[in-house]
Amino acid sequence: MSTSVGESSITKMPENAAQSSTEKGSEYLEQLAHEAEDLRKKLDQERQKLNDIPIQQAAERLEVMGSLGIKQRRILKGHVGKVLCMDWSLDKRHIVSSSQDGKVIVWDGFTTNKEHALTMPTTWVMACAFSPSSQMIACGGLDNKCSVVPLSFEDDIIQKKRQVATHTSYMSCCTFLRSDNLILTGSGDSTCAIWDVESGQLIQNFHGHTGDVFAIDVPKCDTGNTFISAGADKHSLVWDIRSGQCVQSFEGHEADINTVRFHPNGDAFATGSDDATCRLFDLRADRQVCVYEKESILFPVNGVDFSLSGRILFAGYGDYRVGVWDSLKCVRHSVLYGHENRISCLRTSPDGTAVCSASWDCTIRIWA
């Protein structure tokens, strides 16, 4: 990369070379970058004219949230490595989790019992997901693959493991797409893709990120054909599932984006980043709405999610804490202490009755 930058600065010197700019790859790219930048500025100017009020001001009419009484209600112990990812089952009580040592565990979070445990042929199982029917889980990581495993108590389920997706670098995130039939994956190869679970066929892929993809999310409501992804290039991209095209992009973060989650209204989303902030972006207003930051927060955000109404934004930090934010008044409401190492993942349960955090301290905790 450094050599190509060097080249461009050399070829730039003779002015008359500009005519053959299409041949000179790097110079052409620079020109394109320039044009894009101009357009962006113009767009920003246009956007400035929007007479919207800041969200904090709009939220003034709301009452301040009282004490929420959130406490740790369950702790799931059983992993011996760092827990990297977790997902809720739609039955509101089962949880799948994956860890750095290659273990994937299915828990009944309510009773804290382990129901299934399997060992993947790889370390750093960075992603796992429950299927909507709860009959199946998907997981993967450093093996560059996404495998599905049907859950049953009858036989050794690892025997039934099937590879569905293959990327050219590690798989960082995955989620079923509204049915057991489709799976959406994001990868270190900077692409996302939708796969047919049954046949393993690639249905659609999504090129556009210039860095590793770290997170994806699908809106909760049925209408709409979009999803969002974000990652090391500090951008969040909105994709059209049907065409594979990127339809909107958002920037603002100063470092890697580690996590992204749709607002329950489907028209906005929150991100968490290595720059120790969370941000809220509105899709229809086409801009950043709010930054959730504080001088005493010094570590990356690795997981964000909303309460059912969207009023509360939960953020899991690299400083082991869960921040409870008033998403509309943009202030931190309270802090949940408990984990003893960085939080890697955080998710609200499907009916909003609890929030679950996974951590490098080898535990998973449920707060309500």
Binding site: R73, N181, T210, N225, D233, V289, F299, V335, G352, D361
Partner: protein
């Protein structure tokens, strides 16, 4: 490690403000130290924490990440008392030593071996590491021995206090870098953080970006969302009653009480939905169709308006969009036959342009993934129709009110009898006659939502359009 840049800022400020002095620990003099209390007070002043708890936590984070360390006791957090700590020399901060070569570790361990065993002897884990390194680095062991001897010689020239302090700093450094087995390594990076790559945007990427920007400038999508903030605040506020973190769920939150009745009362196959659930359908059409029971009630209502094909069409398309590849053509063809084709049994009311567009898309679909989304124009059209036209009537309808009052009655009965199982046989008549009575505009034989009037499990039937899944 870029994620440590902010805590390092705090470490610098703490270091600037710190007043180190020699403390007495029983009868031992401990130079260059400060107490936990002092550290927390410093963090409170410099780090802008909200309270003492946060200050203590930040101080412990400084300790975990190698900016300070306990001098005498082995504690893994900063105590708000007289426990003694020392600030780590910036030379040993994580930012100064992103990678720690094995050779350096070997030199350090060897140095300790060369010294007074009682004071500097290796711990069990360290012996193990030493043996392993001696094996791996055998080819350069002479160099390692020379280096350690040289460093020891330099060390001897220092004053005694300096020596003691440096020894402790060096030891703390290696303790945080090579923690004993089972102890947490706070400085380790995630795999995806060390391996991530940023690629250069290519011409294609730029062109897409510019197309997007131009399109945005032209269409000004944000104008549609004038007062976007206000809309969001209203949306959220309306749902506060349904958010278990803001309003206690009825009868209780299972995670707090160990009572799962909240879940059993809210399944997708429950005979009578709860009042809150039914009320939520009144918020928006999305809330209604998100709920399987809501969909059914809507279907029942649309049947009364002779337009139930709309919701069935929409559900069938949802099913198609997320179906396995193998079944796409089959399902697509069935939807076309049932809802769109000329003389179709349940032809949906789509204008001719949209219909032509859709038929065109179906005809052109070269593969399953195109077929999957071929109906999207009609889908949007029908959904808008339902949202703008049918839904407002639905909310005012006797059917919706009937379901709501049944839910309310069921709620009060539940409280009175503490009977969580809806006894269909006993309650069927009152619930089914009551709401139908005031139905004047609708035919007298109008059936109620299935789950209120029949004892079959209705949810599965809602998808009667679907081809058999198996």
């Amino acid at each position: 490690m870029p994620q440590l840049s902010k805590i390092e800022e705090l470490a610098k400020q703490v270091m600037e403000g710190a007043q180190l002095k020699t403390h007495k620990y029983f009868r031992i003099a401990v130079p260059h130290a400060l107490t936990g209390q002092q550290i927390i007070a410093l963090v409170l002043e410099k780090g802008a924490p909200e309270d003492d708890v946060e200050a203590g936590h930040l101080a412990s984070l400084l300790l975990h990440h190698g900016y300070l360390f306990p001098v005498i006791e082995h504690v893994c957090f900063v105590r708000d008392d007289g426990t003694l700590y020392r600030l780590q020399r910036p030379y040993f901060w994580p930012s100064q030593a992103e990678i720690v070569p094995d050779v350096e570790y070997a030199i350090y361990l060897n140095k300790r071996l060369l010294r007074n065993e009682q004071k500097h002897g290796l711990e069990e884990d360290e012996v193990e590491s030493f043996n392993r390194l001696a094996d791996v680095l055998a080819h350069m062991w002479t160099f390692i021995v020379q280096q350690s001897e040289l460093q020891l010689k330099q060390q001897k020239e220092k004053k005694k206090v300096e020596k003691v302090v440096f020894d402790s700093e060096e030891r703390a450094f290696w303790k945080s870098r090579k923690p004993t087995r089972g102890a947490a390594n706070y400085l380790e990076d995630a795999y995806n953080k060390t391996e991530k790559k940023i690629r250069r945007q290519n011409a294609q990427g730029y062109r897409c970006l510019m197309d997007r920007l131009r399109f945005a400038i032209k269409t000004k999508p944000w104008l549609k969302a004038l007062k976007a903030s206000d809309t969001m605040v209203t949306w959220v506020d309306q749902r506060a009653d349904y958010d278990p973190f803001l309003t206690a769920p009825q009868p209780s939150n299972p995670w707090l009480t160990d009572d799962t009745s909240f879940w059993s009362l809210n399944t997708d196959t429950v005979e009578v939905p709860t009042e809150r659930r039914v009320k939520r359908w009144g918020l928006s059409v999305q809330e209604l169709v998100k709920d399987p029971i809501g969909r059914q009630v809507l279907e029942t209502f649309l049947e009364s308006e002779f337009s139930s094909e709309n919701i069935r069409f929409w559900i069938a398309i949802q099913d198609l969009k997320y179906a396995p590849n193998e079944l796409i053509y089959q399902k697509g063809e069935r939807i076309r036959e049932e809802f769109l084709a000329q003389g179709a049994p349940a032809q949906v009311n789509v204008d001719s342009r949209t219909l032509d567009q859709t038929i065109d898309c179906i005809g052109k679909a070269k593969d399953a993934s195109q077929m999957r989304f071929a109906f999207c124009h009609s889908e949007e059209h029908v959904f808008t129709l339902m949202a703008k036209d049918s839904y407002p009537r639905f909310v005012r309808s006797q059917i919706y009110k009937g379901v709501l009052s049944a839910a309310q009655q069921q709620g009060s009965r539940r409280l009175g009898w503490r009977n969580f199982v809806f006894n269909m046989g006993a309650t069927k008549k009152p619930t089914s006659t009551k709401p139908t009575k005031p139905q004047d505009s609708i035919g007298a034989g109008q059936p109620l939502p299935k789950q209120l009037s029949s004892d079959s499990l209705p949810v599965r039937q809602a998808h009667s359009v679907k081809p058999e899944p198996e």
